[in-house]
């Protein structure tokens, strides 16, 4: 029973941390609407995972196990992409909020960005949920004598523990000032994305599709063992492993230069649009169709 709880706790931790980062950021930014979308995405993911597992329990067994693993790697890569995009959007959005610009284009895109928030919560929660549900399914099958409700209870307690862990983790963030807070959470999201990317690569190495280059480039197990509490949180948060292959290290490190460049670029493009642009441009009697106000004023 305890093992079930601990396993579900560990499996759910990653999803809880990702959702936690999103919610903490949005709460601090005063975006209640965004938070609702994150909750909706998470709830949808739980329902989808339970539904999928229930409907296809037998079907999954017929699906080639390597294909299942490749699909999981694909979901990890998708999550990397969505997380990166969201981190960039948050960076752009923070400046726009402070500038208090009311641009029609932004409002039109706002819904899309909210859906992006929901998507990322969905992807993060769905993956872990599927694994957890399948695990609990298996446990229920092999311990047919144990009462079902007790197992479900242990599983729910594990999820609760994960949420509590994430909550405690982010409580300390309330002490930071606004600027530092946004910087730290943005960086955290990028670290999570890099970790997901590395985990996907690890899966492909285990499948034999990629060569590790050098199998175990170092061993930091003396400092942070994989199974320790710190190791578990770091592993869930950013894919920390004590004995990574060279390819995984390269992928993790190589993720940052292009993304940080895009981060910097996202900040720079905000400054190029003059704030008074809307007031300065005199609207013509018949504005050209399909052109936004900024296009009128840009020469």
């Amino acid at each position: 029973m305890i093992e079930t709880l601990l396993i579900v706790w560990r499996e759910s931790l990653e999803a809880a941390l990702i959702v936690g980062i999103l919610l903490t950021y949005l709460a601090r930014d005063g975006q209640r609407t965004g938070m609702r979308y994150v909750w909706a995405g998470s709830a949808a993911a739980v329902l989808a995972a339970v539904g999928c597992a229930a409907a296809s329990d037998s079907a999954l067994r017929h699906l080639d196990p390597d294909t299942q693993e490749v699909i999981q790697a694909g979901i990890l890569f998708l999550a990397t992409g969505v997380l990166t995009w969201m981190a960039l959007w948050m960076r752009r959005n923070a400046k726009a909020l402070r500038g208090n610009l009311h641009r029609g284009a932004d409002r039109a895109l706002a819904t899309g960005r909210l859906l992006g928030l929901a998507t990322i919560a969905f992807v993060a929660v769905f993956r872990e949920c599927m694994e957890t549900v399948l695990f609990l399914w298996g446990v229920a099958l092999e311990r047919a004598d144990t009462a079902g409700p007790m197992l479900v209870g242990a599983g729910l307690a594990g999820v609760g523990l994960a949420i509590a862990t994430a909550w405690a983790f982010f409580c300390g963030f309330a002490l930071l000032d606004l600027r530092t807070f946004f910087r730290v959470t943005g960086m955290l999201l990028l670290l999570v994305a890099a970790g997901l990317l590395t985990s996907g690569v690890n899966k492909l190495i285990g499948l034999g599709y990629l060569s590790p280059l050098v199998p175990q480039i170092w061993n930091t197990g003396w400092l942070v063992p994989d199974g320790s509490p710190v190791g578990t949180v770091l592993g869930a948060l950013m894919g920390y492993r004590s004995r990574p292959s060279l390819l995984e290290v390269i992928v993790f490190v190589a993720y940052f230069p292009p993304v940080l460049w895009m981060f910097h670029h996202a900040g720079a493009s905000e400054r190029q649009v003059p704030r008074g642009a809307l007031q300065r441009s005199a609207p013509s009697p018949s504005p050209p169709r399909g052109r936004s106000p900024e296009a009128w004023s840009s020469r």
């Binding site: 693993e69 298996g138 446990v139 092999e142 190495i205 285990g206 034999g208 199998p215 390819l247």
Partner: protein, 112 residues
């Protein structure tokens, strides 16, 4: 170039740059079974420097996770399924693996 396009290109470049693994015939295969009693065999050997293919079969009634901190691998296996887990170029030593869902089930790989 859009953000997604750049990421796709980076991924393709990585895949192209990485040398393809050796043929299946060169692999050292290790059939492993996980059951109620644990791993069988519980201890297995392999030569250093080759690519190892664990052929892990789940003979238990529930899902298992073939995991190893020493080998940096984790793979969930449904009952009745057999999966291949590859590890290559290991230095001599002892490498422990276990079933993450039932941690009393443990095994060791000895690389000589």
């Amino acid at each position: 170039m859009s953000t997604n396009r750049a990421k796709h290109l980076l991924l393709v470049a990585l895949l192209v740059a990485v040398p393809s693994p050796g043929t299946a015939a060169d692999d050292h295969s290790i059939p492993l079974a996980i059951g109620e009693q644990g791993f069988s065999p519980a201890e297995t050997e392999a030569p250093a420097g080759v690519r190892i293919r664990f052929e892990v079969t789940n003979q238990a009634t529930g899902a298992v996770e073939f995991e190893s901190f020493d080998l940096n691998r984790e793979r969930v296996i449904q009952p009745g399924q057999t999966v291949n887990v590859y590890v290559s170029g290991l230095a001599p030593g002892r490498y422990e693996f276990f079933d993450d869902f039932h941690q009393e089930r443990r095994g060791t790989l000895v690389v000589k």
